[in-house]
C-alpha cells in the first residue's frame, strides 16, 4: 500500500520535472520539493553527514533512489548509479530555512552592535551574506525567502522609521530589490554548477559502465556466457528484469534471463520476434506492440541481428527512459559486436572443419582415381605400342583398345558420381563457347563415334554460356555416348543449339528407338535401364551424371522423343541468366 502511494507521487514529481526541465536542460534542483506525506513511513528524511538532507524512497521493491543535492547513493553497494538520472530533486527543507534565519539573526545582531544607526549602505551589504549562502546552498526558493526576510529585517531594524515595515526613502527600496536580485542570480549560478557536476558524474559513471561491460564481453567465449552478461549487467544498470532471446529451431528461445525465472508472456514473445525480424525496438515504449509489458531491443551488428534483449519492470513502467537510451544503444552495440565475433569464430571453426573434410575427401578420391587409372594407363599405353602382325590381330587390338577406353570412361563416370554423391563437386563457372565444348567432346569420343554420322548445327552467333567447362564436357560426352549406344550404326547423331523463349537449348538427337512413353524422367535415375535396351550394355550412370552435373551448374536436362522421326532428343536448357552476349572486345 505505502510503497505504491510513495511511487505514485514520486512518479508525478518525476514527470513534472521532466516536462519542465526539458527546454532548459536544467537540473532538478531548481524545483522545489513536492509535499512529503508525513504518513509515508517509507520515506526517510535523514540528516546525514554535515548539513545535507537526503530523501530516499524505496521503489520497485528493491532499490532506493538517492536524492538530494549531492546525489550520494544511499547504499553504494546496491543502488545502481543510473538511479541518479531518475532522482527527484528536493531542496533541503527546514534545515535550509533554519540556517538562513539563524544567519539573518546573526547579521542583524552584528549590524546592530557594530554599525552606528544610519550607516545603511554597509548594513545592506552585510545582509548579502545570508542571501548568498542560502541561494547557493539551498536553491532559489530558500534564497528568495532569505532575501525577503533579510530585506524585511533590514527594513524593520535599520531603515527609518525604525521598527516598522514602512520605507520612506526610495533608495532603500533599491536595496531590498538588490537583495532579492542577488538571491535569484546566485541560486541560478549554483544550480548550473550543480547540474554540470551531476552531468559530469553521470557521464563518468556511464563511461565506467561501458568500459567494464566491454572488458567483460571480451573475456567471454561461449554463447551462453555471452548471453548472460547483457542480461545481468543491463538488468543491474537499468534495474529491470532482462531476458535474452536468440533464434532457435522454433522461433526465438530464451538463452539467458535475469533473474533466472524472468519470462516474457505471449505478447512479449511476439514483440521480441518482431524486434528480431525488423531490427528495431518493439514492445513497451515503442511504436510496435506497445501493449506488451516488455521492451525489446535487437542486438545487432553490421545489419545482422544476433539476439534480442527484452527488459521489463515489475511496476510496468518503461524500462529505460529517453535520457538513458544513448547509453543503452552503446551497450547493445558492444554486445552486438561481441555476438558477431562469437558468430564469426563459430563460422571459422565450421569452415575449418568443412575444409578438413573436403581435404580428406579429395585425398581419398584422388588416390582411388590414381589407383584405378594407373593400371589402365599401362594397358592402353602397351596396346598402343603393340605392332599387330596380322589383320586379325589389328582388329583384336582395336577392339581391346576401344573396350579399355570404355572402361576408362566408366571409371571416370564412377568417380564423378562419387563426387556428386559426396558433395565434393565444386562447379566453377566461366564463359564457355558451346561450339568449342561440342568440338572437344567429339574430339575425346572420336574413336567411339566412327560408326555414326555427326551433324552439328550451332549458329555462329551463339551467346557464350556461363558454366563449369569440365562438367559441361562430361555432360556432352555422356549424352553423345548415350546416343551412340542406342542409335543404329550408320545413323546420324545431331547436336543442335536453339534459342528458347527464356534461354538456350543444346540438344543431342539420335535416330534410335526413342524413349518409352512415361520413362522421360525415370531415364535419368541412377542405374535406370529402359526395357529391351540393354543390348549394348551400359553403366546406367551416364544419364544420371548428366542430370546431376547439369543441376550442379544450374541447368536442367530433359528427354523427349523426336517429332520428325523415331529417336530420342536430350536437351540441356541453359537459363537466360547464364548467357553472355560475347561482344568482340578489340580496344
Amino acid at each position: 500500500m505505502f510503497p505504491y502511494a510513495g511511487c505514485s507521487w514520486v512518479r508525478a514529481a518525476n514527470c513534472r520535472i521532466r516536462r519542465r526541465s526539458r527546454p532548459l536542460e536544467a537540473g532538478p534542483s531548481r524545483f522545489t520539493e513536492p509535499p512529503v506525506p508525513d504518513a509515508a513511513p517509507t520515506l526517510l528524511i535523514a540528516a546525514s553527514r554535515k548539513r545535507w538532507a537526503r530523501v530516499s524512497a524505496p521503489i520497485a521493491g528493491s532499490t532506493a533512489y538517492a536524492c538530494g543535492a549531492h546525489n550520494r547513493p544511499v547504499d553504494d553497494e546496491h543502488t545502481p548509479f543510473l538511479a541518479q538520472s531518475r532522482e527527484l530533486a528536493f531542496e533541503s527543507g527546514g534545515l535550509g530555512y533554519a540556517v538562513s534565519l539563524s544567519l539573518i539573526a546573526l547579521v542583524t545582531a552584528v549590524a546592530a552592535a557594530v554599525f552606528r544607526p544610519g550607516n545603511l549602505t554597509n548594513v545592506g551589504l552585510l545582509y548579502l551574506v545570508p542571501v548568498m549562502v542560502a541561494a547557493t546552498r539551498f536553491g532559489l526558493r530558500t534564497g528568495l525567502i532569505t532575501g525577503l526576510v533579510s530585506s524585511l529585517a533590514y527594513n524593520f531594524f535599520f531603515i527609518p522609521p525604525l521598527h516598522t515595515f514602512i520605507i520612506d526613502n526610495p533608495e532603500n527600496i533599491v536595496t531590498v530589490l538588490m537583495l532579492l536580485g542577488v538571491a535569484v542570480v546566485s541560486s541560478q549560478l549554483a544550480a548550473r554548477v550543480r547540474e554540470q557536476a551531476r552531468l559530469a558524474q553521470r557521464s563518468a559513471a556511464e563511461s565506467q559502465a561501458l568500459a567494464s561491460f566491454a572488458q567483460q564481453l571480451t573475456g567471454l567465449r561461449t554463447r551462453v556466457e555471452l548471453a548472460m552478461l547483457p542480461c545481468v549487467e543491463l538488468g543491474r544498470l537499468f534495474e529491470t528484469h532482462a531476458v535474452l532471446l536468440v533464434p532457435g529451431e522454433n522461433g526465438l528461445a530464451a538463452l539467458a534471463a535475469s533473474p533466472a525465472d524472468a519470462e516474457p508472456d505471449r505478447i512479449a514473445a511476439l514483440a521480441g520476434l518482431r524486434a528480431f525480424e525488423a531490427n528495431q525496438p518493439t514492445g513497451l515504449g515503442s511504436d510496435t506492440l506497445a501493449a506488451s509489458k516488455w521492451s525489446f531491443w535487437p542486438i545487432a551488428s553490421g545489419g545482422r541481428v544476433h539476439a534480442v534483449l527484452g527488459m521489463a519492470r515489475l511496476d510496468a513502467r518503461t524500462p529505460v527512459g529517453p535520457e538513458q537510451l544513448p547509453l543503452l544503444r552503446t551497450l547493445l552495440a558492444q554486445a552486438g559486436l561481441a555476438f558477431e565475433r562469437n558468430a564469426l569464430e563459430d563460422e571459422m571453426a565450421m569452415i575449418a572443419q568443412l575444409k578438413e573434410r573436403d581435404r580428406l575427401r579429395a585425398a581419398l578420391l584422388s588416390s582411388i582415381s590414381h589407383d584405378l587409372r594407373t593400371p589402365l594407363t599401362t594397358v592402353l599405353g602397351t596396346l598402343a605400342e603393340i605392332r599387330p602382325a596380322s589383320d586379325e590381330q589389328a582388329r583384336q587390338l582395336s577392339e581391346t583398345r576401344r573396350e579399355a577406353e570404355r572402361l576408362h570412361r566408366f571409371i571416370a563416370n564412377l568417380l564423378d558420381m562419387v563426387r556428386v554423391e559426396s558433395g565434393a563437386l565444386h562447379p566453377s563457372a566461366e564463359p564457355v563457347d558451346l561450339a568449342e565444348a561440342v568440338a572437344e567432346a567429339f574430339h575425346d569420343l572420336r574413336r567411339g563415334l566412327t560408326s555414326h554420322r555427326l551433324h552439328f548445327d550451332l549458329p555462329a552467333d551463339l551467346p557464350l554460356v556461363l558454366v563449369d567447362p569440365r562438367l559441361l564436357h562430361h555432360c556432352l560426352i555422356n549424352l553423345l555416348e548415350n546416343a551412340a549406344k542406342f542409335a543404329p550404326e550408320g545413323s546420324a547423331i545431331a547436336v543442335w543449339a536453339r534459342r528458347l523463349p527464356n534461354g538456350l537449348g543444346l540438344s543431342v538427337l539420335d535416330e534410335g528407338v526413342g524413349i518409352p512413353v512415361g520413362d522421360e524422367t525415370r531415364i535419368f535415375e541412377m542405374y535406370a535401364r529402359i526395357e529391351g535396351s540393354d543390348r549394348r550394355g551400359g553403366t546406367g550412370l551416364g544419364l544420371a551424371i548428366v542430370k546431376a552435373f547439369a543441376e550442379a551448374m544450374g541447368l536442367t536436362v530433359e528427354a523427349t522423343n523426336r517429332c520428325d522421326r523415331p529417336g530420342a532428343c536430350f536437351t540441356l536448357r541453359i537459363p537466360e541468366g547464364k548467357l553472355r552476349a560475347g561482344q568482340e572486345v578489340d580496344a
Binding site: 590414381h370 594407363t377 592402353l380 566461366e430 564463359p431 563457347d433 574430339h443 555462329a460 568482340e584
Partner: protein
Amino acid sequence: MSTPITLLVVDDEPAILRLLNTALSRAGYAVIEAGSAREALAAVAIDKPHAVLLDLGLPDRDGLELVPLIKSAGPAVVVVSARDATEQKVSALDLGADDYVTKPFDTEEVLARIRAALRHRLSSESEQALVCAGEVEIDLIARSVRKGGNEVHLTRKEYGLLAELAARPGKVLTHAQLLRAVWGPAHESDVEYLRVAARGIRRKLEEDPARPSLIRNEIGVGYRLVT
C-alpha cells in the same frame, strides 16, 4: 645427330616407367628413370636431361613442388599425371611446367607434347619469324596471316592471340597467360574476351569450326596451336 636428347621419366609405377621408356626410346630419345622425388632431383643435377616427364603422385613429395625446382635447373617439364582436376593443371602450368598430359595418355600425344616443349626450349633464344600450322602461315615479323597463300584479315586482338599461341607452337598457354599478354594484366580473368577472339580466329581460319584443327581448347585450362 650427335648426342641424343636425354629425357628423365619420373614415376613411382614401374609399369608406366617401362611403358614410357619403350615408347620414348623408340622415338630416338635417351631415357633415364627415377622412382621418387629424391632420385629425380639427383638425376636432374647429374644427368642434366633436356626434358622431364613428371608424375605428380610421388611417394616422397608432391610432384607440384618439384616443378619449379626442376625448371630452375634448366630442363623442360611435361607433367604426366592421373590428376585431372583443372586446378591441378593450371597450378602446374603456373609453376612453370611446359605442358600437362593426363593418364591414361595417348603415347603419340606425349611425344607431341615433348616435341613442343623441347622446340620451345631450343628456340627460345631465336624466335621463329614464320610459323606454319597446316594451311595457315603466321608471319610474326610482318604481323600478317595467310591461309592457302591468301592474306586473311584478323582484328587486332585476334591477331594478338594467334601470335601469342604461334610464338610457342604446340604448347598449352593458360587463359591467364594469354589474357595477360594480349589484353593486359587488368583483364587476366576476362575469359569471355578470349572465347570471342578464339571464335573469330576459327571462323576465319578453320576449315570446319566444329572440328577445329588449328587451335585446340584445353578445357578450363587454355589454348594451344596445333602444328
